[in-house]
Amino acid sequence: MSTASLDPCACKRGFFTLRDCERAATRTCDVCRRRICDEHRAPRVQATVCVECSARQAEDDAVEPLVRTDGRPGVGPVNAGEGPQVVAPEDATASTARYRRRYYDRHGYEPMWWGTHDSTWSGDGFRWYDDGTDDDGGGFGDS
């Protein structure tokens, strides 16, 4: 299962939980300067940008007001068109990265963190088991 590359992609996989991508990196994101794989490159013609940076930019640029149907902050469904949309399989990774960013920001969801530390996520809330020891670096296959 472990195909750890010497030059692994720095993007995170997952929506409800986050883990390392670990595919071999093929290029460098122009924004965050991290090494990324082909799948985690946002579909842009001009620049090389990772799907996480692209999602952050899209969310920063978004101006539509946030109105939830149940009127409560942080939880509940949002307006129509706010939910995940149907996309082609080849656009799934980038599209889900954008929806993930929006969902975390607007619903206050804190994903479980099962990956290696990454300072580009330091502004986000997430959950992990903190017993004061270092990451033992093991996988799930060993239990």
Partner: protein, 304 residues
């Protein structure tokens, strides 16, 4: 309709089989399901557009039919024979058009899928693909035959009266349209279910002019349910909360711990008036997120 046939021909055998059977079942990786179902959804959208075109043409033909009759009668009374004949021809042509459109409508409606469950599933698949354990399929059962077909009928009420209505008969339907199961990379077993229950009330009353008037009113209740079994080796239930309403207030939640796992069930019900049922994958995302809010990680490991 033009284009529909060609589009259907562009689909592969598995996709055409879904269009014909209107049910989907099996196990495939999430994005493979999306590759299969995306074009089926696109085809169903085209069928919907074709039905809308037929509806508009039927309206135009009906207007022409009525207009033609009026002109024919007026010209008959006024004794303008050529105009009367022309109007008669228009009436006949309009009638033939209406009949042809009826046939086309029936043909299209037999092909039409219940599109919303398909759209919901297709929107959800990329998210499941992110969290699914590597190489693990999504088990999917999807019913696109419709929320209120004869097969979904549960039964009828006795005739009863209420207010101005002297006879009301309720017909009840139950459509469990979706079941999906997948194992996530963290070992969580996730089950997703969707169901639409309908009550169709046929209400009859006498108007003031003593005419019998019948009205049909449909109420629906859509239930989204998510079950997540979190393995003990990675998660433990958050101690404070157990049962009761989840953060949104309207949802139902149940947390059960057993040796080896914590099972969280989240349920959201959306009630609506009218025959149309709009589904939104965001509800399912919320429910899975709420389930994850009921547990904490119990160890610090890197998940690959």
């Amino acid at each position: 309709m033009s284009g529909l046939k060609e589009h259907r021909a562009s689909l592969d055998a598995a996709q055409r089989a879904v269009l014909d059977a209107k049910v989907v079942g099996g196990e495939r990786p999430a994005l493979e399901w999306l590759g299969l179902l995306g074009p089926v959804l696109a085809h169903d959208v085209r069928i919907g557009e074709a039905l809308e075109r037929v509806r508009r043409r039927t309206y135009a033909a009906s207007s022409t039919f009525v207009g033609g009759w009026i002109v024919a009668i007026v010209s008959g009374v006024a004794g303008v024979a050529p105009l009367g004949v022309a109007a008669g021809v228009v009436v006949v042509l309009a009638l033939l058009t209406i009949v042809a459109l009826r046939v086309e409508r029936r043909r299209l409606r037999t092909q039409d899928l219940e599109g919303e469950p398909l759209r919901l599933t297709a929107a959800l698949l990329p998210i499941l693909a992110e969290d699914a354990a590597p190489g693990t399929p999504v088990a999917l059962d999807l019913d696109l035959t419709g929320h209120r077909t004869d097969a979904k009928k549960l039964g009828k009420s006795d005739t009863y009266r209420k207010g101005a209505y002297h006879a009301i008969v309720d017909t009840f339907y139950d459509d469990p349209f979706l079941r999906a199961r997948v194992r996530f990379a963290d070992g969580a077993q996730v089950s997703i279910a969707g169901r639409v229950q309908s009550r169709v009330s046929r209400k009859t009353k006498r108007s003031q002019s003593n005419k019998i008037k019948t009205k049909i009113k449909t109420k629906t209740r859509t239930t989204y349910e998510v079950d997540v079994r979190f393995p003990d080796r990675n998660y433990a239930a958050v101690p404070t909360t157990s049962g009761g309403p989840s953060p949104s207030g309207t949802d139902r939640e149940r947390v059960r711990t057993a040796p080896g796992r914590t099972a969280v069930r989240e349920r959201r019900v959306i009630k609506a008036v009218g025959p149309r049922v709009a589904l939104d994958a965001a509800h399912v995302v919320d429910l899975v997120a709420h389930a994850y809010d009921r547990v904490d990680p119990t160890r610090r490991k890197k998940l690959r």
